[in-house]
């Protein structure tokens, strides 16, 4: 039985859900826990089809609460575990993922956003940004990668496992229904052959030696009796998170230096923005492009610099200002005008970006 699902580099043409399943295999994920919900179902379908061939496992649970908690169980047992969800499933998933923040469990969650609130549409949106970055009764101690192409879905799903196991914060890959269902080309690869070192999982419990003598005791808690103790533990988490932030933060930008307007977008909308800004710049229009890849933590420094240079942000998203709100917090006090272009639950085309930029500039 082959251990490597992908040998060498391979150009493929498939849906985003299939890409995620392959990427999880390539990242040596050992088990997926899941509960079906559109538009991410096929992640499960492809995983369950391929997993037995590579000695990987799958457990379907009774709902997303359980899928989230069993994922944490897998992690505690030292397995590279992940789950995938969307919409109302993502809402339920926040309770276990909040525990992952509390206990520093490197769980990986792939989200394919659908319309909201509630059941809404099974199709598409960018309305799970607030939930995915700051959901749960906590402080948002997590990493969120917002992908925009199938290549990135592959790359960042692999990366998510490494980020999670390196820093011990829950890590999300935030896609959407369009990315889930569309087909386009990408190059798949075995991470090892590309020089990407996969960080191995290790068991949290049942380590050898005497606790307190040979090793520190395995003391993982999500409950505290005393306020001050919780406060102190959280300070440690915040410190770790702050130290991690500059190491994991990613963004993409061009044309910011000479522009008086910068289009800021993320995920699949950034495809439209990128195409439109390129086209406009070729026609001599001075407009820039900025796309945070990590929505949490945000590339605050670079956003502030872009804001100071350009003076105006055109914020485009398939939500009613969820990215906008994150940006406002990140660059509070920066001398920048934020012009909203919000289309909750609906796609944004490059034609619309071109029209809006022309009307604004």
């Amino acid at each position: 039985m082959s251990d490597k699902p992908i040998q060498g580099e391979k150009r493929v043409f498939m849906t985003g859900n299939e890409v995620v399943a392959y990427a999880a295999l390539a990242a040596r994920a050992e088990i997926m826990y899941g509960y079906p919900i559109t538009p991410q179902n096929e992640i499960m379908h492809y995983w369950t089809r391929m997993a037995p061939k590579y000695n990987r496992e799958f457990l379907q649970t009774e709902d997303e609460l359980s899928a989230g908690f069993t994922t944490l169980g897998g992690v505690l047992a030292g397995k590279k575990a992940f789950t995938a969800t969307a919409g109302p499933g993502n809402t339920l998933m926040q309770e276990p993922l909040s525990m992952a923040e509390a206990m520093r469990l490197p769980s990986v969650v792939v989200v394919q956003q659908r319309g909201g609130p509630s059941t809404a549409t099974v199709i598409y949106s960018q309305q799970e940004v607030t939930l995915t970055t700051l959901g749960g009764n906590g402080e948002g101690l997590r990493v969120v990668y917002s992908t925009s192409t199938h290549q990135e879905l592959f790359d960042y799903t692999i990366k998510a496992f490494n980020t999670a196991w390196k820093y011990k914060f829950p890590t999300f890959v935030l896609g959407d229904g369009y990315q889930a269902k569309m087909r386009e080309s990408l190059t798949m690869y075995d991470p090892g052959e590309k020089g990407i070192e996969l960080i191995p999982a290790e068991a949290y419990l049942g380590k050898p030696g005497t606790p307190g003598v040979d090793r520190p005791p395995a003391h993982y808690r999500n409950t505290y009796n005393v306020e001050e103790e919780l406060y102190e533990v959280l300070q440690g988490h915040f410190k770790d998170y702050e130290k991690m932030a500059p190491e994991v933060t990613e963004y993409e930008s061009f044309g910011v230096e000479d522009s008086t307007l910068v289009v800021v977008s993320h995920g699949v909308v950034a495809r439209a923005a990128k195409e439109a800004v390129r086209e406009l710049r070729e026609a001599g229009v001075k407009v820039g492009y900025f796309r945070p890849i990590t929505l949490r933590p945000l590339p605050e420094k670079q956003l502030r610099e872009a804001a100071a240079r350009a003076g105006r942000f055109l914020v485009m998203e398939s939500a009613q200002g969820q990215l906008g709100r994150l940006l406002k917090e990140a660059i509070f006090g920066a001398p920048v005008e934020m012009i909203p272009f919000y289309k909750p639950g609906v796609g944004i085309t490059s034609e619309e970006v071109v029209d809006k930029v022309k009307a604004t500039i």
Binding site: T121, I123, K181, M182, R183, E275, G347, S350
Partner: protein, 188 residues
């Protein structure tokens, strides 16, 4: 930088528009070109108009959906109504000439409106089951996104296992490509 060709295919469920879009996209990808295909999807299991959005070019494709198609193909009366919104001054609008009662809905702002007798040809000359392959022939001829032999290779790849059992099916499908292409040849 040449822009991607944007194609909309719309019809009733079962008319096979999604299969056609997928086969063309795969043929383009096999050729080393950039392709992006996305179906519309929702909670309905039946009853909706099926729309396929397809883009083929030589640069990475931008947004998965778009406002105006270079070619918009409507295969039912409801599809004509549904796809009017994707028609602009540079659009070739193709519809089946057998669709009745849509005279008032045919877009008037298209570069060209092209009625083709695909349903009739399928029924009378070939077989109703290759109706969508006739449409595929027409689309690739009208857009030039992939050569006909590449399209045939892609069909072979997709349906080869059926052709093994019944070689006549292969001939039927390849004829459908040719006939589809003939329907639009010289009209553009």
């Amino acid at each position: 930088m040449s822009k991607a060709v944007k194609i909309i295919l719309a019809g009733e469920g079962g008319q096979g528009v999604q299969s056609v879009a997928e086969i063309i996209a795969e043929a383009a990808n096999e050729q080393g070109r950039e392709a992006l295909y996305i179906p519309n999807f929702g909670v309905e299991q039946r009853g909706g108009v099926s729309v396929a959005y397809l883009q083929i070019g030589d640069q990475p494709i931008g947004a998965p959906k778009f406002q105006t198609g270079d070619i918009v193909v409507a295969l039912s009366d409801r599809a004509v109504h549904r796809t009017r919104q994707y028609v602009g001054p540079d659009t070739v609008f193709v519809y089946d000439s057998g669709i009745e009662g849509v005279e008032d809905a045919i877009p008037t702002n298209a570069k060209k409106v092209l009625p083709i007798p695909a349903i009739k040809v399928a029924k009378e000359e070939l077989h109703p089951r290759v109706f969508n392959i006739i449409i595929m022939g027409a689309v690739i001829k009208a857009t030039g996104v992939v050569p006909e032999d590449r399209a045939k290779e892609a069909i072979e790849k997709k349906l080869g296992y059926k052709f093994e059992k019944n070689p006549e099916l292969r001939e039927l499908n390849f004829k459908a490509i040719d006939r589809g292409a003939e329907l639009v040849a010289g009209t553009l």
